[in-house]
């Protein structure tokens, strides 16, 4: 069932992506309401990143429709891009710019005035503990610093919808806490977070709703109680148990005999 588009920040209908013979995303339907903290889970190769790339316009769907913040993903891509912030799993930055230069660049590409861009850039650099490295080239940053910079760039224009693919990978606990707080604050102000991770505890703690994708298909969608019901899991079962059941994971009890 797809809720009314007017209240949904992200709507995907029959979204499909094929790469040659392989179907990476197989006709999925998604609807994420405004201000929702939406967790999108799945095993490796299930189609999470492909879905996110299609939703933010970086990959052309083979079939299906996308609406983001009320705009059509295929006919109004610039309107969509004005309203989204994206942090992809593989961080692609302009590595020959300094952290500060890059953030100001990103802000201005989203139409922010220079003064505003500088102000937000300073705030983000401070918050993410990048202030000391702000004048270093990004190419000299560690992977965690690059990820934080990419997160800051995705946030700097205060998007209405944020797509975050594995945002906490490689980031230190202090920054993880800071990012989590920012994300919470964003959802309180109506921003929708579309979020993937493999860390179930984070999803349990943050997300108001979760969808699980496996082999390109949605196998579960709802809050924790609804997913428990769908997986026919017990009342005390964790999200990890539900996830393993829904993706039909075969976790052998048998271990390596030669260990």
């Amino acid at each position: 069932m797809i809720p009314q588009p007017s209240t949904d920040a992200v709507v995907a209908t029959n979204l499909t992506k094929r790469f040659g013979q392989m179907t990476a995303v197989d006709g999925i339907d998604l609807a994420v309401a405004e201000g929702e903290f939406f967790g999108f889970l799945g095993p490796n190769g299930a189609g999470k990143s492909t879905t996110i790339k299609m939703l933010c316009g970086l990959l052309r769907p083979t079939a299906g429709a996308i609406r983001i913040a009320g705009y059509d993903g295929q006919t109004q891509p610039l309107e969509v891009k004005r309203r989204i912030g994206v942090l992809l799993e593989e961080v692609n930055l302009y590595e020959r710019l300094t952290g500060r230069e890059f953030l100001i660049f990103a802000a201005r590409m989203h139409g922010l005035a220079l003064g505003e861009a500088r102000e937000r850039c300073s705030d983000l650099l401070e918050l993410l503990e990048l202030a000391d490295a702000k004048d270093k080239l990004i190419v000299d940053y560690s992977m965690g610093m690059k990820k934080k910079t990419a997160f800051a760039a995705a946030l700097i224009h205060h998007p209405r919808v944020m797509f975050l693919d594995e945002p906490f990978n490689g980031i230190d606990p202090i920054s993880v806490r800071a990012i989590r707080n920012v994300l919470r604050q964003l959802t309180e102000h109506g921003t929708t977070i579309f979020f993937t991770t493999h860390v179930m505890e984070v999803v349990e703690r943050l997300c108001t709703r979760v969808a699980i994708i496996n082999r390109g298909r949605i196998v579960g969608d709802g809050d924790l109680a609804e997913l428990r019901e769908k997986a026919k899991a017990g009342g005390e079962s964790s999200l990890e148990d539900i996830f393993l059941k829904l993706v039909d994971a075969r976790v052998d009890e048998e271990t390596l005999s030669w260990l």
Binding site: E101, M109, D140
Partner: protein
């Protein structure tokens, strides 16, 4: 399962297997790589045999003393190429990175032996084999001289391979650092420029009476002959003449040098073990002092000036492009290659003038054609403007600004950069050719041709994008730059050349064949013509981007 006790692993065998496998995979991982390898073998293997045959002819036709000098020269060239290859970036491949092997229980000596043995299957080494065989055949007068020559060549090879690896390891930290690679990207083409100019000048120097006998007696040549290549040649030469005591002396000296090299290389591997050299090294980075305040203020003032006059997206893209123009080695390398081409032009000009042609006629043609040709050299910048973005193109296409603004931001910087560089070069050429009177026209031609190139480049950049990145000093293109794209590039060059003709005609015809008064009419028409092509290219490119952005981003994200 019962605990199995294995014997000592055959590490040397495993290392050789790994080397062979990686070399094989490098060649066969893609059809284009396989075709490239076959083509390289088809071109270089006959060349290698040709060099060996040339050496054979020289060793047999020259006087024995001169033949030995030739041998010294041949071994010296091989030696220099081998030692230089890691610095040039050719040997920095995955299979050479011994730092990856440090996690396994291998002794430094074993690592070194594996690396030295593995080098035998390298393309450069294999190409040298015919020449080494010819040396062995040509300088063996009997069993004793055969043995000494064989032993000398083995020692020479061992020393050279070990030294190449030592250079590789010692330089790894520098070569793999960003700064090191940036410097090399510019330094190597400049070195090639110097090499080209010197190599082209040598025949003229020879014509003016450079005596080879004097050169062979010079202290420089004598000093070079005491390098390991010279020691090997001396030992081989002496043995072939039946003078064994000096042959054994030089062989002994070569053995000592090879032993010392083994020690040095072993020491370096040991250093890698404790993390003091090579790519595994972690060095604390020196904190850079905060930039002085006035610079910040200047920067802020520039921001305000620029941002108050142009739309924010154009200003942001232009500023980003400007920074990349200064910082990205790709741009520096292209400019260094322009200088290389300029040196080639200069040498050609000099040679033609030397050949008795009228300097005036030569320089006239060269000034117009040469300045146009500069743009062809710089085509990788204009015709593939999204190429250097690489995977960051997906980020660029995520921004909600109009694509026209992105294009204009990129074009402005490229046009100003290339226009300024080419104008300086054109001025230099005009002054050198004593044709100052055509300088204003040449400058107009340079600027218009540059604008036309940038405009047409927009369309090509959107239609045939391919990733381009610097690996060492070598520009690497992604696999998607296949045959069809290469053909399209050739076609695009032809079309751009044809589009340039009216501009050239507007300037050249009145200047040389009609009356200069006509320039008052033809120059504005040429400007209008180029402007209309540029505007049309913007519209077309915007349309193409609207249709193909995801595909372009995916293509630019492809690995090399």
């Amino acid at each position: 399962m019962a605990l199995r006790t294995a014997g000592a692993p055959d590490y040397l065998g495993l290392l050789c297997w790994l080397k062979l496998k990686l070399v094989w995979r490098t060649v066969t991982r893609r059809t284009s790589a396989a075709i490239g390898a076959v083509l390289a073998a088809l071109i270089f293997a006959p060349a290698s045999v040709f060099v060996a045959l040339g050496c054979y002819w020289g060793f047999h036709e020259l006087r024995p003393q001169m033949a030995e000098h030739l041998l010294r020269g041949v071994l010296l060239a091989a030696y220099a190429l081998w030692i230089m290859s890691p610095i040039l970036g050719y040997a920095i491949t995955e299979d050479y990175d011994i730092a990856k092997l440090l996690v396994y229980p291998l002794s430094p000596r074993m690592l070194l032996a594996g690396v030295a043995l593995g080098s035998v299957v390298d393309f450069g080494v294999l190409l040298l084999v015919p020449t080494l065989v010819v040396v062995l055949i040509s300088f063996s007068a009997g069993a004793a001289s055969f043995l000494i020559a064989g032993f000398a060549l083995v020692l020479f090879m061992l020393h050279t391979v070990l030294l190449a690896q030592a250079v590789n390891l010692a330089a790894a930290g520098i070569l793999r650092s960003r700064r090191g690679r940036d410097i090399l990207a510019v330094a190597i083409p400049l070195m090639m420029t110097v090499f080209y100019v010197v190599s082209q000048s040598l025949p003229h120097l020879a014509e003016r009476g450079l005596a080879w006998s004097e050169f062979l007696e010079s202290p420089a040549w004598k000093a070079l002959s005491f390098l390991p290549s010279g020691l090997a040649a001396r030992a081989i030469g002496a043995a072939s003449r039946g003078v064994y005591p000096p042959a054994l002396f030089y062989l002994g000296l070569l053995a000592v040098v090879s032993g010392a090299t083994l020690y040095l290389a072993g020491w370096l591997v040991g250093l890698v073990y404790v993390g003091e050299a090579g790519s595994a090294a972690v060095r604390p980075k020196r904190e850079r002092a905060a930039p002085a305040r006035p610079r910040k203020e200047r920067e802020a003032a520039r921001h305000t000036w620029l941002s108050s006059r142009v739309p924010p997206a154009i200003a942001a893209v232009a500023e980003k492009e400007l920074r990349y123009l200064v910082r990205d080695p790709f741009f520096k390398a292209t400019i260094a290659q322009t200088i290389y081409m300029l040196a080639v032009f200069a040498v050609m000009l000099f040679q033609m003038a030397h050949g008795g042609r009228s300097a005036h006629a030569i320089s006239g043609g060269f000034l117009w054609g040469g300045t146009g040709m500069l743009l062809m050299v710089q085509s990788s910048l204009a015709l593939n403007s999204f190429g250097p973005e690489g995977s960051a193109a997906s980020l660029l296409f995520l921004f909600p600004c109009s694509r026209r603004e992105i294009l204009i931001g990129k074009n402005v910087v490229l046009f100003l950069g290339l226009g300024a560089l080419n104008s300086v070069i054109a001025t230099g050429l005009c002054l050198a050719a004593k044709q100052a009177q055509v300088l204003p026209l040449i400058l107009i031609w340079t600027v218009l041709a540059c604008a036309l190139f940038v405009g047409c480049g927009n369309i090509m950049s959107a239609l045939f994008p391919f990733r381009i990145a610097m690996k060492g000093w070598v520009m690497r293109r992604s696999a998607s730059m296949g045959c069809s794209a290469s053909l399209a590039y050739a076609g695009a060059m032809l079309v751009i050349g044809l589009l340039m003709l009216p501009v050239a005609a507007a300037l050249v015809v009145p200047t040389y064949w009609v009356s200069r008064l006509w320039l008052a009419a033809t120059i504005p028409v040429a400007f209008a013509y180029v402007a209309s092509i540029y505007v049309a290219s913007l519209r077309m490119t915007e349309e193409i981007l609207r249709e193909r952005e995801p595909e372009i981003a995916a293509r630019l994200a492809e690995a090399d």
